[in-house]
Amino acid sequence: MRVEAKILLSLGAFFGVMCAVYWKWSLEDAGGVMMFAGMLLCFLPGSYYFWWSRRMKARPEDDPNATQSEGAGVVGSFPGSSIFPFTLGMGAFFVVLALVFGIWFLVPGLGLAAWALFGATAEGRRGGHV
C-alpha cells in the first residue's frame, strides 16, 4: 500500500510544482487550472492510500516473502456473467443518438438505463447470472 501511496503523492507533488511554475510564469489560466486539478486528482486517492498504509499491516501482496497460502481465502465477489452492462451500454448509445437525431431517442435510452440500474442492483443482491 505504501508504494501505491508514494507514486500518487509524488506525481501530485510534481504536478503541483509544475502548476505553480507554469501559472506564475505564463499567467494563462486554462492550463493552470487543469494542472491544479491534476494535482488534486493525485492527492485525493494518494492521501487515502497513505492514511491507510500507516494504519494497516502489510498485505500479502506487499510482503516480499509472502507464501501463496497467505493469499488463500475469499478474494472477492465476481459475477459469473451479466446482461446489464450490455443494456446500460445500449441505453447510453440511444442517449447519445438523442443528442443528434432527436429528443425522442431519450425514451428508449433512459428506459434501458433504468432497466439496467434496477436489474444490476437486483442481480447484485440475488447473485447468479444473465
Binding site: 488463500a72 452492462p85 447510453a92 443528434v100
Partner: protein
C-alpha cells in the same frame, strides 16, 4: 468458505458443484456468452477483435488518401470527401484503434494474469467499457451514412472550424457523441486497471516485482484518469456551443477559440503517451523473453515510465507553438525533458538484448522494428520540440511523417504483442513464416511511406490537402509514399491470411516461448479464474524462476537474504473465490 485445500484443482471443481450454474461449463454459450460475459479474457478478446477491425477500416481510409495523393490533381475523391477521409482516418486510428487495442484489448487480458488476479476488479464495469467503446465506434462511423457526410474538421476539431456555422450537420455531432462514449469507456477501463493493480495482486507480487507491461499499464491508467475527463468536458462545451447558443469557443460572444486547443491538447498530449506506453511495455516483455534475459535496468525502466507520465501533463502546448499565445520556453524545455526517460528506455532495451541469446521470432522482429521506427519518430520529435524548427515545419508533412513513424512503431509493437500473447489467450500459435513475411512488408512499408513525407514536409508541402502543385519532385516523393502505404496494406492482408491459415493448427502449450512472467504459468487459454495454482513469487519473473531453478533471478525488494530459502511452489495453493451466488447463503 473453505480456506485451504490441496490439491488445488479439486478446490475449483468442488466449488463448481457447490454453486451450480457458475463457471465456463455452465454459463451461457454462443452469442449470449459474448454479450453477457464479465470474464476479462472474453471482454479483452472482443476489444482486440473490434480494434483490429477498426485498424482495417482506418487503414482503408489511409489507402484511399494515399491513392488520391499519388497524382497532383487526383480525382479519386472530391475535396469534401477528402476532408471526411483524413478526419475519420485520424479519429478511427487514435480513438478507436490504438488506445482500445492496448488498454482495452491486450492489457485487459494480460494485466490480471500477469499479477496473479482472478479477474479485473470490476468485471461488470469492464463489460460496460466494451459496450460503450463498440457503440461509440459505431456512432462515430455512422456519420458516413448521414446526408452531410462524416465529421470533416480534422481529428482535432479546432474551434471555430468545428462550430455549427462552419461544420453543420449530423456527422460532426455523431463524432462528438461517439467520442463521449469511447471517452467514458476509457475512463472506466482506467479505473478498473488501477484498482486491479492496486488491490488484486497475488501474495509476494510487490509493486516492484510487477512486469514492466503491468507497470506501464498502471501509468497509462493514471494518465487516462487525468486526461480523458478534460476531453469529455471539452466535448460537452463544444456541443453546447454548437446547439445551445453558448459562446465558450467563439469570439463573437466573448469566448476564446484557443481555449479549445488548450483543452484538446491537455488531453491530447497525455493521450500520446496513453497510446505509446502500453506498446513500450509490450516491446519490453518481448525483448526480454526473446533475449532470454531479465529486463535490463528494471527499476530505471519503471522510473522512466513514471517520469514520462509525469512530464506528459506539462507539454500540451507544444502542439500550439504557432498560435503565438503560449509560453514557448516552458513547453520547449518540458518537451525536450521527455527525451531523457525515453532515452533511458531505449538504452535499457539495447541493454536487455546485449549478449543475450537472441531468438528472432516474429514477435522479436516486430519489437526490433518497433525500436528502430520509434527511434526515428522520437528523434524527429525532438526537432519539433524546438520552437524555431516547429515554426518552419508546423502543419507540414514533416509533422505527419513524425507521428506516423511513432504510431507505425506502435503498430509494429502491437503486432508483436499479438504474436507473443495471442497463443496465451487463444491457445494456438500463429504461423511464423507468414509472420516474418508480414513483418518485412510492414517494416519496409513503414519506412518507405514515412521517409518521403519527411522530405516533402521540409520542402513545404502542407498536410490535409487533396491536390498539390505540379512539381516532378513532389510527385515522385508522393508516389514513393503511396507505394509504402500499399506495402503496409499488403502486410495487413498477410496478417489476416495468417490468422485464417493458422486457425487452430498449432497448439501452443502453456509456455511456448520459455517466458518469464506469471501469465505463462497458467494454461493456454487460462481457465475461468485464470489460475489452478501459483508459484512462489520471489522476483519479477516467477515463471522463469520456477522453470529454471538453477538460474533463479536476483530478487527485487526482498531486503537481501530470505528469498531463496524455500523451493518455489512448496506451498502452492489457490484462493477460493466467492461468487455472487453465495450472497444469499
Amino acid at each position: 468458505m473453505v480456506d485451504l485445500i490441496t490439491p488445488p484443482p479439486a478446490v475449483l471443481d468442488e466449488g463448481h458443484h457447490e454453486h451450480e450454474g457458475h463457471g465456463e461449463h455452465h454459463g451461457p454459450t454462443g452469442i449470449l456468452k459474448w454479450m453477457t460475459s464479465t470474464d476479462h479474457k472474453v471482454i479483452g478478446l472482443s476489444y482486440t477483435v473490434t480494434s483490429v477491425v477498426m485498424l482495417v477500416i482506418g487503414g482503408l481510409f489511409a489507402e484511399i488518401i494515399r491513392a488520391q495523393l499519388a497524382s497532383p490533381n487526383g480525382t479519386l475523391v472530391s475535396l469534401a470527401q477528402y476532408n471526411e477521409l483524413f478526419t475519420m482516418h485520424g479519429s478511427v486510428m487514435i480513438y478507436l484503434f490504438a488506445g482500445p487495442f492496448a488498454f482495452g484489448g491486450l492489457a485487459n487480458i494480460i494485466v490480471p494474469i500477469q499479477i496473479g488476479a482472478p479477474d479485473m476488479a470490476f468485471p461488470r464495469l469492464n463489460a460496460l467499457s466494451y459496450w460503450l467503446y463498440l457503440m461509440g465506434s459505431i456512432t462515430m462511423l455512422m456519420g458516413f451514412f448521414t446526408a452531410g457526410g462524416a465529421a470533416n474538421f480534422g481529428w482535432v476539431a479546432y474551434a471555430p472550424l468545428s462550430n455549427s456555422i462552419n461544420t453543420p450537420g449530423a456527422g460532426a455531432d455523431l463524432w462528438i457523441g461517439g467520442l463521449l462514449l469511447t471517452g467514458f469507456s476509457a475512463i472506466f477501463t482506467g479505473v478498473n486497471l488501477t484498482a486491479t493493480i492496486f488491490y488484486l495482486r497475488a501474495p509476494g507480487m510487490t509493486m516492484f516485482r510487477m512486469p514492466i507491461f503491468t507497470w506501464n499499464m498502471l501509468v497509462t491508467a493514471i494518465l487516462i484518469l487525468l486526461a480523458f475527463p478534460v476531453l469529455t468536458a471539452g466535448l460537452i462545451m463544444l456541443y453546447c456551443d454548437r446547439h445551445f447558443g453558448t459562446h465558450i469557443f467563439s469570439v463573437a460572444g466573448g469566448g476564446v477559440p484557443v481555449l479549445w486547443q488548450h483543452i484538446f491538447w491537455f488531453w491530447g498530449h497525455p493521450e500520446v503517451y496513453i497510446l505509446a506506453l502500453p506498446f513500450f511495455g509490450m516491446a519490453t516483455e518481448i525483448i526480454a523473453v526473446f533475449s532470454k534475459k531479465p529486463v535490463f535496468g528494471y527499476k530505471s525502466m519503471v522510473f522512466a515510465t513514471l517520469s514520462i507520465g509525469a512530464l506528459s501533463l506539462g507539454v500540451w502546448a507544444h502542439h500550439m507553438f504557432t498560435t503565438g499565445v503560449v509560453l514557448l520556453p516552458f513547453f520547449s524545455f518540458m518537451s525536450l525533458m521527455i527525451a531523457v526517460p525515453t532515452g533511458i528506455k531505449i538504452f535499457n532495451w539495447i541493454g536487455t538484448m546485449w549478449r543475450g541469446d537472441l531468438w528472432l521470432s516474429t514477435a522479436m522482429l516486430m519489437a526490433l522494428g518497433f525500436l528502430f521506427t520509434f527511434l526515428i519518430g522520437g528523434l524527429t520529435g525532438i526537432y519539433l520540440a524546438s520552437p524555431p524548427l516547429d515554426f518552419f515545419t508546423h502543419d507540414t508533412y514533416f509533422v505527419v511523417a513524425h507521428f506516423h513513424s511513432i504510431v507505425m512503431a506502435l503498430v509494429l509493437a502491437g503486432m508483436g504483442g499479438l504474436y507473443y500473447w495471442g497463443p496465451k489467450f487463444t491457445g494456438y500459435l500463429l504461423n511464423e513464416k507468414f509472420g516474418k513475411v508480414q513483418f518485412w512488408f510492414l517494416f519496409i512499408g513503414t519506412q518507405v511511406f514515412t521517409f518521403p513525407q519527411y522530405i516533402l514536409g521540409l520542402d513545404g508541402m502542407p498536410r490535409r490537402i487533396a491536390i498539390y502543385p505540379h512539381s516532378p519532385q513532389w510527385k515522385t516523393l508522393n508516389d514513393w509514399s503511396t507505394f509504402g502505404a500499399i506495402l503496409v496494406g499488403i502486410s495487413m492482408i498477410v496478417f489476416v491470411v495468417n490468422v485464417g491459415y493458422s486457425w487452430k493448427k498449432y497448439p501452443a502449450g502453456d509456455n511456448p516461448w520459455d517466458a518469464q512472467t506469471l501469465e505463462w504459468f497458467t494454461t493456454s487459454p487460462p481457465p475461468h479464474h485464470n489460475f489452478y495454482r501459483l508459484p512462489q513469487i520471489r522476483s519479477e519473473r516467477p515463471t522463469w524462476d520456477y522453470n529454471h531453478p538453477e538460474h533463479r533471478s536476483l530478487a527485487h525488494g526482498t531486503g537481501g537474504t530470505g528469498s531463496h530459502h524455500e523451493p518455489p511452489l512448496a506451498n502452492a495453493v489457490v484462493g477460493v473465490l466467492e461468487h455472487d451466488q453465495d450472497h444469499d447463503a
